[in-house]
Symmetry: C2
Subunit: 464 residues, 2 copies
């Protein structure tokens, strides 16, 4: 690849950007909510749409069935050169509470952010449709301008990332040989800030549990039974309310076993990044770091394990009042895990902790949604340096190597099933509202994201 070729590709990207946007919008209009069975057909439609879009690059692409939502697989192989496996997902999070969206979540628009930035607003605008399309559009530009891609690419886009990839991982395992490559490119992470590109080199794991506590065999009147019959919400709140001590440490015995402090050099680098509550919490209306006392905010947010109750419900939650003692109460509880923590052990410790606190005449049931260990990537893998340089060139600012507080469980699965390391590059921002109402993706993230991948593909072609 010559520099002139790359420049032509970048120019084409800018020239064709309105069409790139329209292609992204077509994908955003499909309601591919993987968590809700009511949207299964929409998930299929999204897979088919995306397969057609990738096929339009001249790449042999199929919608492939799994035991759940289908995957999209495309292969552009010439041989004799680096071969990357590109991973992303077309499924999105549920949209509730719908009434907090300023516009319908599946009718994408480009609009103005309060601070003047142009933003794309829609469910999936960032996570992960927008990010996936940065890569697809970069490939399209290379193909259009030069007739081929700089490296061999296998596209692998799944439809169950937001629900734990339960059927996707067996699909990879069953088709290992197909997905051999040199390494994986994942586009599902963020930048350090609006102007500073980043490569994510560690990811927290995720253990996601559901707890249901049952007391009486039916709902009760609190006048008749209040005071004498156990209320399952009382049991549940007592247990969940005891999960943190006064130093904001999690009280489950053994929870911190195996958790290591950051190496001093990394800690020093992170200290230099000087992440303040003013920068990180003020935009969301908060000011007091809620994590372990004595830890940097950036540690709390990315290198320390956490616990969050993601949902809780029980009894009467409608308008007005009802003097009921419900029969049962439930919660969804998740833990972000770090290197050294075994999800299975944490699950057992959590369940033991809860079970030990259930009164003798009540019962508890557990459900599991996902269990993925943390991932620490190889900071010395060769493509990393190449990608870092390419990103720095595009953004005009040194690329940060950072830890992410989020989990991309598939990264561990790629290592385990295919033996492949992953390179995590993405263009999300902290204020993108992913998983929330009014999800957005900066128009600049989308455009420079495409340009970034165009540069990275060129750079990776040179890595032997």
């Amino acid at each position: 690849m010559s520099n002139a070729q790359l420049q032509s590709v970048l120019d084409h990207i800018d020239k064709d950007f309105d069409n790139s946007l329209e292609r992204l919008f077509s994908l955003l209009r499909i309601k591919s909510i993987s968590a809700d069975p009511a949207f299964a057909e929409d998930c299929k439609a999204a897979a088919e749409h995306l397969a057609k879009d990738i096929a339009s690059l001249g790449v042999a692409t199929e919608v492939r069935p799994t035991a759940g939502h289908p995957a999209v697989v495309g292969k552009a192989k010439a041989g004799g050169r680096p071969h990357v496996l590109f991973y992303g997902h077309y499924d999105v999070q549920p949209v509730d509470p719908l009434d907090l969206w300023h516009r319908p979540p599946f009718e994408p628009v480009v609009t103005d952010h309060a601070d003047g930035r142009k933003i794309i607003v829609a469910r999936g605008a960032e996570d992960d449709k927008g990010q996936v399309m940065t890569f697809v559009e970069a490939c399209r530009a290379w193909k259009k301008v030069t007739g081929s891609l700089p490296v061999d690419v296998t596209f692998l886009i799944e439809g169950e990332e937001e629900v734990g990839s339960k059927n996707f991982v067996p699909f990879i395992e069953a088709n290992k040989d197909e997905f051999k490559a040199d390494y994986v490119l994942v586009c599902d992470t963020g930048m350090w800030d609006r102007n500073t590109p980043a490569i994510t080199t560690s990811l927290r794991g995720l253990l996601y549990e559901e707890v249901k506590i049952t007391a009486a065999n039916r709902d009760l009147h609190s006048g008749v039974f209040g005071g004498s019959a156990m209320n399952p919400i009382r049991v549940l709140t007592k247990i969940l309310g005891s999960l943190f001590d006064d130093d904001n440490r999690i009280t489950i015995p053994g929870f911190y076993d195996g958790v290591k402090d950051l190496p001093p050099d990394i800690l020093a680098q992170w200290k230099n990044l000087n992440l303040t509550p003013e920068m990180f919490l003020k935009p969301i209306g908060l000011s007091i770091p809620a994590g372990e006392k004595g830890r940097l905010l950036i540690e709390q947010a990315s290198s320390r394990p956490t616990c969050d109750v993601n949902g809780i419900w029980g009894g009467y939650i409608g308008e007005g009042s009802k003097t009921v003692i419900p029969s049962h109460a439930s919660a969804k509880v998740s833990f972000r895990l770090v290197e050294g923590q075994d999800p299975a052990k944490i699950r057992k410790a959590f369940r033991d902790y809860v079970s030990a606190r259930i009164p003798g005449d009540c019962k508890v049931e557990f459900g599991d949604h996902s269990a993925a260990p943390a991932v620490a990537l190889d900071w010395n893998m060769k493509p990393l340096a190449a990608a870092k340089k390419a990103l720095t060139e595009e953004w005009g600012k040194e690329t940060v190597l950072m830890g992410s507080g989020a989990s991309i469980p598939i990264v561990a699965d790629f290592k385990r099933t295919l033996g492949l390391d992953s390179l995590l590059v993405g263009f999300g921002l902290d204020d993108d509202n992913i998983h929330s109402p009014n999800e957005k993706y900066d128009l600049r993230s989308f455009q420079k994201g495409i340009r970034s991948w165009a540069r990275i593909l060129a750079a990776l072609a040179e890595v032997k």
Copy 2:
């Protein structure tokens, strides 16, 4: 009234019972859920239906507007004899969770209980439509057989009891003169057990609060913000989970101020009733009294103050998983109060307790649903002895004078606004599932309830 007259009335009640049942069913078919604005028209329809039914006794009856659901007022006054104000309510509790009902809640049937009893199943079968109709049908029988009622009766049936009578109390206050009477008859309470009639002589009060805790200004992704941003469910569960100490006493400072122990003679009587967990809790699937250690189960259930979380919600509560940190979390929290507790003081103590535990960057909002003090009735009021004797004659078992754990706030309002004492007689049973799915009323409660009122009306005519 001669004994022969009473006997004719009782015979007529038995002979006409199928028609009484059909008249109750007509009322049960109306979806008069007062808590949900969607059912406002149904509430109006129930008022109109009931007014027509009472008018059919030859009683001048009107549907009277209030600022909320209307009231039904009927007047049967001859003068020169005792005058009772009969109170009940036509509104019912919401029916959710609907999927736990074995049949549609507004399609009443007579069916067999597992133990062979005949039962009427429908929302409101007991609370309070079935109970109201025991009195109406007793009046109908007297009117049919003798041409008149034994005493003057003002009927006053409201439509907002289940939502705190907020508009009904001002309605009484605005029309005080109309509702002058010697005392009130209330049919909204229960029997001691299936064979033992009871008059309720004390009622717990009710303070019902709503709490909403807000942390971030929007829902957050727990990967990005987990560990650093406060989760409002964490705040809420920590506060609610701390409301009870290890002896099951409520921890809010001042909560027990003014609460007195039972007089030794009443305590002795209650001890004799020997209410066991086997009798009271086993039918609902529980075995361990959840109230204050060192108190009798019957004290826990009726003479001690309590706290229950009646509803809690926050975050993602749909199927599957969502890694969200919600912006806010809410709970409905109620307190059953006893003599000596001031609802306003308890409200302030509760709100202070919660507010003191809100992190500096979060906020709390409170809503109030109802605040009614406990009521201790006059054990020496004259009609009480007459009604007690009449009940004992009907049921062939000595009538118990008991405390109720439930609240009928209107009883305090009658005392305050009209200066009237109330006599509380009812035929509900602990297993009636009021406020729960599959509410029922024993067919025997309905039939012998009508007969009981027929006897009580005759007995009250003799009380000077």
